[in-house]
Symmetry: C2
Subunit: 126 residues, 2 copies
C-alpha cells in the first residue's frame, strides 16, 4: 500500500475567483466544483487524470502570515531561453500577481503573490 | 510557453529531519540536498524525474498558525479496501504523526500533523 499525493488544498476567501485566477495563470482546467456555500471547493489540474491538483477551499479566515508552504514554477517550452522567466513574470503580473518581499536578497527566482496574497516563485528556466 | 509545477516548498526548522520523516512516510527518495547551513534544502520526490517534489527549506521562524496550504493523500494499492485509511493513519501515527483538530466535524478524512505541526489529510481510499 502507498499514499497517492492527491491534492494541495489552498484555504481561500473566494475560492471560485482564486481557482479561476490560477487556472488562467497555469493554463489548467477546472476538474471539480462543489456547490457554492460555506465549504465550497474548486479543483484545478492540468487534466482530470493528473495529480496532485490544486483544490481551493472556502474558509472564513484571511491569510495573516507568510505561508509556511508555497509553490514554485519553472518556465518551459519551445520559446524558453534566457528571457522566459521575465516573460512569465510579466504575464503573471498582467493577470494581477504582485511582487513581494519575503526577505529574499539577490536571488535567481522571483517571488510573487496571487490575489489573496499567497506567495509563489517563478524560477529561472533550466 | 508554460509553467511547470516544480516543487512545493515547506519552510522548516529542521529540514533534514523533516525531509527524512516525509521520505519515510511517503516511500519517496531524497533527490537533492544542499550544503547544511542557514538556507539548507532537502528535496524528496517519488523519483528524480517526477514533479512536483517536496523541498524542505531551513527558516529561522517557527510555525505559528494553521497552514494556509496543506497536502492531501489517498491510500492506494492492492491491499486497499475499506481499512486502507485506518491502516495508513496508524502507520503514520507510529512514525510520529499526531491527530489535530482544525475544526473538522464528522468528516471522511483524517487530519494529521507532521513533527513540525504541518497539517495534512489522509482521505478515504477510493
Amino acid at each position: 500500500m502507498a499514499l497517492r499525493f492527491e491534492q494541495i488544498v489552498v484555504d481561500s476567501e473566494n475560492p471560485k475567483a482564486l481557482a479561476d485566477w490560477w487556472r488562467e495563470a497555469l493554463g489548467w482546467q477546472l476538474t471539480y466544483q462543489s456547490e457554492e456555500g460555506e465549504e465550497a471547493e474548486y479543483e484545478i489540474a492540468p487534466d482530470a487524470d493528473t495529480h496532485p491538483s490544486l483544490l481551493f477551499l472556502a474558509v472564513p479566515e484571511k491569510k495573516t502570515v507568510k505561508n509556511r508552504l508555497h509553490l514554485d514554477f519553472v518556465p518551459e517550452g519551445p520559446e524558453g531561453g534566457p528571457d522566459a522567466q521575465a516573460t512569465e513574470v510579466a504575464r503573471l503580473e498582467a493577470l494581477g500577481a504582485t511582487r513581494v518581499d519575503v526577505g529574499q536578497t539577490d536571488v535567481s527566482w522571483v517571488v510573487l503573490a496571487d490575489p489573496e496574497g499567497n506567495e509563489f516563485c517563478v524560477l529561472r528556466a533550466r
